[in-house]
Symmetry: C2
């Protein structure tokens, strides 16, 4: 989405060749009209699909999940919770997610009441990088017997292999802006 790319170029802060900080509109301060446009673009991309519910993961996916849920007119979105401890009850679906950024594994949980067999679930998140969060959320949906309609991220880093991992599971991927590389303090979109 052109407008998102322009926003990244204008307000993104390049930390190194792999990381660009986009706190000012994506994950600390949120640009509400931009998120609503992104939600519209996501719906257009998955226009042949039925979507019953949106699933994301705390914290940074929540705002986009709200926007996308509102755009679809669905009643609910669900955010998976991250726990350091592996102690989980029988009432939850769980999956292990390794975070490259934080170099730690989180046990991600969703209450079994909130993902149902046969539901059509669209998964959204702020970033698609290594793809582990997406893989974990797909795992949870499939444990529940739900149908994963697709995976949508605001920003994708094409050089970290996440898209391939998710597509290998048979899930269609959308991203609002796809960063091909960050070189000499310049962001190049793919």
């Amino acid at each position: 989405m052109k407008e998102l790319e322009q926003e990244i170029l204008k307000n993104g802060i390049i930390i190194n060749d792999e990381i660009v900080k986009i706190d000012s509109f994506l994950n600390h301060q949120i640009d509400i009209p931009l998120f609503m446009k992104l939600a519209k673009d996501i719906r257009e991309f998955f226009k042949d699909q039925i979507v019953d519910k949106i699933l994301t993961i705390e914290t940074s996916g929540i705002a986009l999940a709200f926007a996308v849920g509102l755009e679809y007119g669905v009643k609910n979105f669900v955010f998976a919770k991250k726990n350091k401890s592996a102690i989980v009850g029988n009432d939850n679906y769980t999956s292990q997610i390794f975070s490259f950024t934080k170099k730690s594994t989180n046990t991600v949980t969703v209450d079994k009441k909130f993902i149902n067999k046969g539901e059509n679930i669209l998964i959204v998140d702020d970033f698609l990088a290594g793809g582990n969060a997406g893989v974990g959320l797909i795992d949870i949906c499939r444990q529940a017997g739900a149908n994963v309609v697709g995976f949508a991220a605001a920003v994708e880093k094409l050089f970290q292999g996440g898209r391939e991992k998710i597509e290998a599971l048979g899930v269609k991927v959308y991203s609002g802006a796809a960063i091909k590389s960050i070189e000499n303090n310049t962001i190049i979109f793919g």
Copy 2:
């Protein structure tokens, strides 16, 4: 708000005389239309005030902040971040918040770029209980020289003293549903 009270009675799970779990529509699964109605009710309550920006705290305040921001038609909302460590740079406003639920103190931070002098800020959160999160966010706004328009919570627990703490700072308080007590497995609204 009648509809929120009914939802709490219908789907809230009473854990003990102080805690009711309302995961199914407030802070794990989110009821999007209910949040939009709540946002409308909040705007009506603060109708004499100008609001430039919404401030909340991760994680559970984010969905309500999005709804309220959309209702007001403002460009941005900001969510404060919680850090276990007290290491913070000069680029952030910080405040210490003690959580009764978790029995620990968090350093809450907001990037100085995102709260500006003279801005009219409405603070929102999912719960108002002991009031410490609200007090911390008001502290951050005042460090920045911003004007706190009010504090709005989806659900208030009247018996934990939060409202008094926030009103003592001269800030007007809204709650969508105010629980007076939980007795003999029954929720009584105030």
